[in-house]
Amino acid sequence: MSDPQRAADMDVRKSRGGLSWVWIVPVIALIASLSVAWQNYSQRGTLIDIIFQSASGVRAGETVLRFRDVEVGTVEKVAFDEGLTDVIVSVRVDNEVAPYLDDDAQFWVVQPDVSLRGVTGLETVLSGVFIEGTWDGSTDVAQTEFYGMDSAPLTTLDQLGTAITLRTRDGSALSKGAPILHRGIRVGTLETPRLSANGENVIVDGFVDFPYDRILTTATRFWDTSGFSLSLGAGGVELDVNSIASLIEGGVAFDTVVSGGERVSQGYVFDIFEDEEIARNSVFVNPNTPTVEIAVLFDDSVSGLTKGSEVRFQGIRIGQVADLSAIINEMDGEADVQLQAILSLETNRIGMDADTTEEEALQFLADYVENGLRARLSTANILSGALIVELIEEENATPATLDIDLEPYPIIPTADAAIADVAETAEEVLARIERLPIEELLQGAIDLMASIERLANDESVRDVPEELASLLKETRALVASEDVQGIPPDIRDAIGDFDGLVQSFVAAELATQLTDALTVTTEAASNISDGTENLSEISVALEDLLTKVNALELAALVTEATSTLDSIDTLIESDETQALPASLNETLADARAVLVEAERFLASEDLQALPSDLRTTVTDLNAILAQIQAAELVLKLDDAITSAAAAADSIETASADLPAITAELQSLAEKANALKVEELIDEATQTLASIDALLGADGVDELPENLNLSLAELRGILSDLRTGGAVENLNSALSSASGAAEALEDATVDLPDLIARANALVRESREVVESYSSRSRFGAEALTTLQGIQDAADAISALARTIQRNPSSLIRGR
């Protein structure tokens, strides 16, 4: 061994005592690992066990627990309990929510579900099933073991609304998830129906959502809406079907018919009635009325009596049959089977206060029984054979008592049932129906049918349609015949003539003449107007005259007038006078005839010739005037006028004396005033009266009537014309003319094209011809021909333009 060796050995050994810095690394690694582990451990939640009947799709490590769709845990283990009856799903729940998992927590597995109410849980198709939980926000005693539900609860715990309990005798119409309806809309859901503890009722929990739960009161009634109801009544067949969902799933509906009910608390118990009508009627029956229960024993068959059958007293419902059972009654050592009906009587319906105790009510009944109150079976419905229990007062009843202390129920004595005779009546009715001569009736019906058949098979009857068909054919031929078709054109021609007539009127300038006549009339009117200006003076004089007239002894006048009138009356009443109007009429007729002749005369050629004669005369006159003019007559006339003017001047001077003349005239009028006007008036009055009488005669009355008749005839002719459809025909003729015009218009639209084409043709032709030889004879002829064609085309063009401008000219022929 050498020194360097030893030295090196020494070095190694010496340095082995110190610790390398590398040791930090495992320490850090250890700390890091432990801290990660601790972190994981401390953050892992509480392990809870949920017990399911089956856990389809639940997988350890994958399936999550959700609360309001938020992941709050993961399934760690899926195992069985001892005996393999249940599946225990261990779920690691976040520490945050673990304290809330108390008694009310519910868990269920969410799976895709397709039902009548819709499709739920679709999200699980991709992600796999998950466990949903629901619990409230209060921390109670936290638990770690829960029982899972088969399916989702229909209501979550924090849902607003009212939970109710429904009670029914028949749960067949109810199923889980069935709707609770209010006026047809879904306001809640039913849970799974279950039997009540004593097995008598079916109880189902329901939940009515907020805000519909506010409708619920103690006066609310529920009824079954499942399936459909078919009712046959006087109004026909009525089929009532609710929603398909309720048809299949069942369901209940409710309504609060009367107000005044109190708000219900959670879990309030309602009864489900069979149908809406019963439910509504039941509102008027207070379900909380105090009742007293008594038993009744029947020896006879009670077939037809059911639970709920009515108990009536003198026709009024006072209660119902609460129960029916058979009991063995040992009497005199002999066992006897009797049928016991428990009657539930509403005490307030037999006239007792609500405060009446059961003992008081029973005592009352006991007293009544001693006075003859008995129970008996009675028929409620002849057809269905349903029975009711009737309480009657039987006279001369065998004495009996009601032992009010008897347990369990006091027994009320019975009377004979009132049902036997009903069956007998029915039998009798059936027998009578049997005796009816139905065979003969049917035979008669068959005979009737046979004769109808014979009649129908008769050939003449069969021919009827054919004849009808031929008749129709003939009618059609008639309508289609040329004569009939030709009628409208004829009418159109007539209208054309009429049109011409009107045109000629227009041409004759009738209007102008009329205007002239009117001008003349206006002048005459103005003359009259001038004349009336003098009237005021005259009226003053007349006024004076009237004043005097007023001063006359009118009374006497009237008396005289009356007598005169009487005499005129008698005169008029005479046959001659009566005949006067008739003769007047004749005279008028003659006059008319004369007028007609006059008219004819006026229309005669001689008269027509008169104007021409006149014209010739005028011509002669003109000639004479010309001669006069030539003879310088005008100058002479001038002289004459001058002398006339001088004469006028002298008249003017003379007129200065006029006031004097007027004064004389006035005095004259005064004298006239002083005359015996009275007599004059008498005569005038008489005359007027006679005229009046004349006018009052029958014949005169007839005059207007005749006139009226004539007018009526005229009117009739006019209306005949109108009803004859002349106007319509005219209209149709005009519309067809208009159609023709339109067609022409359409045609003329094409005309320019045609003309253009014709022009082009002519041009081309000319070119062709020119290309031949302008000097050749053929060419010249062709040229002239083409020129003619062009002219024709121009003419057509002109025509087209005219028509285009004024289409109606074609119709009018201008």
Partner: protein, 201 residues
């Protein structure tokens, strides 16, 4: 057999240059020269323990977190192997199992064996132990395959909701474990194997 130390020499472990034993640095490459690494065993043990510690979470925690259509699945190393076997991919299962379980654990055992044998100055199988050391040195890096696979998958499969792959805690732990064991193997001074025979003489 004469050692360099006995000859008063020291070899550079990096470039193979032979220097006198008193030389502090290699004249060729400048690295520190030690005739024997006095703290070799300490370092070996330290790295080894660190590697073993982090190897535990690498196996317990998920290596890959796969999300596919809202469906999340975590797979640990061994869980993945079992799954592959169940799916019938025996070859891939073997590769994964070999690279992720057999090799790391084999390395732990081999390094422990080497370290203890040196401490006890065992003179048995010195040639085989040296060969074992070289095998460990060579094979150590291949364990990183797992980590690379996870890294590549995580980078490639990011299809939002359809499919996503994320590395779990185990991936980091495993990578650290491989790293630590490689360092442990590197810290081991194979010359110590041969010193035992010299000292017992």
């Amino acid at each position: 057999m004469t050692t360099a130390r006995e000859a008063g020499l020291v070899a550079c472990r990096r470039c193979g240059q032979v220097e006198v034993i008193s030389a502090p640095h290699c004249q060729r490459c400048g690295s520190a020269l030690q005739s024997r690494d006095e703290r070799s065993l300490q370092k070996v043990w330290a790295w080894l323990i660190a590697g073993m510690i982090v190897y535990i979470p690498a196996n317990l925690y998920p290596m890959l977190i796969t999300r596919s259509l809202g469906h999340t699945s975590d797979s640990t190393i061994f869980g993945g192997v079992v799954e592959l076997v169940e799916l019938g991919s025996y070859d891939i299962a073997f590769v994964v199992f070999f690279a992720s379980v057999v090799i790391p654990i084999g390395k732990f055992i081999a390094i422990i064996y080497l370290a203890i044998s040196v401490q006890r100055r065992s003179i048995l199988n010195m040639h085989q132990r040296h060969k074992l050391y070289e095998v460990i040195e060579f094979i150590g890096r291949w364990s990183m395959i797992d980590v690379f696979v996870v890294a590549i998958l995580s980078a490639l499969v990011q299809l939002d909701s359809i499919a996503t792959i994320n590395p779990g805690i185990a991936a980091v732990s495993f990578a650290l474990s491989v790293l630590f064991t490689m360092l442990a193997a590197q810290s081991f001074d194979p010359r110590l194997i041969w010193d035992a025979s010299r000292n017992t003489e």
